[in-house]
Amino acid sequence: MPDETSNPVLGHVSVASQPTDEIPAGGEFLEPPEEGENPQTTDVTSEGTEAVEGYEHPKGPLSELFTPPTIQFPDIGEASFGPPPPMAESVHGPDDRIQITSTSVYPWRVHCSLLITAADGSRWIGTGWFIGPRTVMTAGHVVYIKNSGVPGRDCWATRVDVMPGRNGAQLPFGSVTSSNLRSVTGWTAWGDQNYDYGAILLPTDLGSRTGWFGFGVYSDADLLGSTLNVAGYPGDKPAGTLWYHWNRAASVNSRKVYYDIDTMGGQSGSSVYRIMSGGRYGAAIHAYGGATTNSGTRVSSPVANNMLAWKA
């Protein structure tokens, strides 16, 4: 791997599964959302979350959220049995996710259940979200398998079935298949988690019906003061069902955003988004579970440049 710290832009060189003549874009980095046809857009709260009927954050409103201590206290069981192996899960404490069943309306229909077929024939599930009429954003490891340890698997996915607004067996917008994929060299060549993002380019403009999320490049202070929202298709719930949760950002660095928002395998690629003036704006692409926080690739300027190019 080259010394990417001396020239981090190298990691954001766009690469494609098929020939492309796209030109990297630049300029503004607050790309607006679009709500699509007959959106029936659901309400938002004053705290920057989705207003889901009957759902209150089990931990209370944001202003009352408990701030966990930074010191790790031992479990009482350690007094008798000694320290356990590190087994903190990507659902931190109680599972606070709520199922969304109104998936045919905006914004929920922007989220896509993904069925991924890798080059060795193995199949996987993930999540994506529309950023334009033909472009679904997701994690890099969803579209390009890297360092799998399985012969024939490390490569572009051979196909991705995209199911917007899926609710179990219900596919309100059908399913579209694509093998026209995008990621960046930082992921495809180096396998660096800091560059773990990609996109699926669809052969139809289905996003014109579903609408899409905007995205923006935000300062550390903006992100740390924000409520972040995540919705996706986790594998631990009934197949193909959409689940939502929100919380404050826990920490950020120049390439990642960390948050105590419950996720599970299958939610890779989910939008980590802010709500501003009623509009939804992606701030990161969820990619990793973790013991204390989960994390996503931050929409930094180079990431936003590629997103603009990929939605062109």
Partner: protein, 90 residues
């Protein structure tokens, strides 16, 4: 196109009659360092394999509609780990 080789957790998913379970979802729920938040699907023979970033102790879960959740803690070495999963009906 092959890169670094990661330890591999592989195995087969069957029901309590010994028949292969297709499209069971297998994923990591806890581990020693961050893990990709994807889920593998078992194939028509019930087989699956997913890599982990490093050796260590992982908690894995297997879910399939119509079956009770299955979970295990496994110590993954360089050579990987093999699992025989038997799902029970709800």
């Amino acid at each position: 196109m092959e890169g670094l080789s990661r330890p591999l957790v592989s195995g087969v998913v069957r029901d309590n009659r010994g028949e292969a379970v297709t499209d069971a979802r297998l994923f990591i729920v806890a581990g020693p360092e961050p893990w990709p938040d994807v889920a593998a699907l078992s194939d028509e023979a019930g087989r699956f394999s997913l890599s982990v970033l490093s050796t260590g102790t992982y908690k894995l879960q297997c879910m399939a509609d119509g079956f009770a959740p299955w979970e295990t803690v496994v110590d993954v070495q360089e050579a990987g780990a093999a699992l025989e999963i038997e799902l029970q009906g709800r």
